[in-house]
Point group: C2
Chain length 198, copies 2
């Protein structure tokens, strides 16, 4: 027998299909949504559909945006000869929040992962190479320090170096405020290898 009404079950199923939302949270959310005023539910639903319909890739850096060129690429004063390569728009946002970077970005939309069938052609690597045919001084690799992120960085680095472009990689080491005893060995040995003279 159906516990709730068909409408509630359908909503719970749809919500539970979203990443990071289990069945219990989906139920909680569904009941919350049903308890919201109709106009607020409509607004939430419309914002979803509008975002999906209007958001596309920036024609320069491939981040998600609603204009042809994203706010970062079109901002005066950004150094277009410095390109930071990130895996996705969230990583871009994380770096942008530091306020310490005045170059532009290149969003790959993923990392090379043969395990799940993602090859170099499935992410925006060709587009990066095309950009680098222009006037580029340095490409900073800021892919994640996972196996996939590292392999992607290696792959890109080889191609760009062959094209004579300066390639750097963001430092890996002990995070600020991190307690040494809780940090994994790989990070610790990288921090040691990357030590700098004071």
């Amino acid at each position: 027998m159906e516990l709730y009404s068909g409408y509630i079950n359908k909503l719970v199923d749809e919500l539970a299909a979203l990443p990071g939302i289990g069945n219990k949270s989906a139920q909680r959310l569904a009941f919350h949504i049903i308890g919201m005023p109709q106009d607020k539910v409509n607004r939430l639903a419309n914002v979803m559909m509008e975002a999906k319909a209007n958001v596309r890739y920036c024609s320069q850096c491939f981040t998600l945006t609603d204009s042809d060129v994203c706010p970062i690429c079109s901002k005066p004063g950004r150094n277009h000869r410095l390109i930071m390569v990130v895996e996705n728009s969230r990583d871009l946002a994380a770096y942008e929040k530091t306020g310490k970077y005045d170059g532009v970005y290149h969003v790959l939309h993923g990392a090379i992962s043969p395990m799940i069938g993602i090859g170099p052609a499935d992410i925006k690597i060709k587009e990066l190479l095309d950009r680098c045919k222009g006037d580029v001084e340095e490409v900073i690799l800021a892919t994640n320090s996972s196996l996939e992120g590292e392999s992607t960085a290696m792959y890109i680095s080889k191609l760009l170096k062959a094209a004579g472009i300066k390639v750097t990689k963001i430092a890996s080491g002990v995070p600020v405020g991190g307690d040494l005893e809780y940090i994994d060995e790989v990070t610790l040995s990288r921090a040691l290898d990357g030590r700098v003279e004071l």
Copy 2:
């Protein structure tokens, strides 16, 4: 400066306003939704609006349903002289899953909480009293064992007893599989008070 496009920011804000979804999860969800095919996004949005528009209270037990009388109240074989009082439809679902209860329910939609201004008139207590004017044998109180749930149970119990109706309360005690050393003192002393002879 806006990091993302206006559409993404709006979606993140709407999602972050839902319960249990922080800013980081809202971002993750927003990007996931933007990455979904348009027809799936539309389906999710429509299911939300439909559920909100079609779900109402069961005219008997006040649980959320899409018909005048919910599947439980309209199921043949349920004992309508036995009413279990719960705070919300999720609690009803939890008991219904046990498969051990053949009575019907009464959903209060909250608990009395003077701290946040919820009085007896704000939840479905009057409706419960009205139901109890009919042929009712026993009312089982299954509100949460929080301060609010307990006070609500006490309040209802006084009213029903005054009307000459048998009122019981689900047992509180040590949960099955619970390790004594991790259980709080209040639960332990309740379990002691409620001990049964073997």
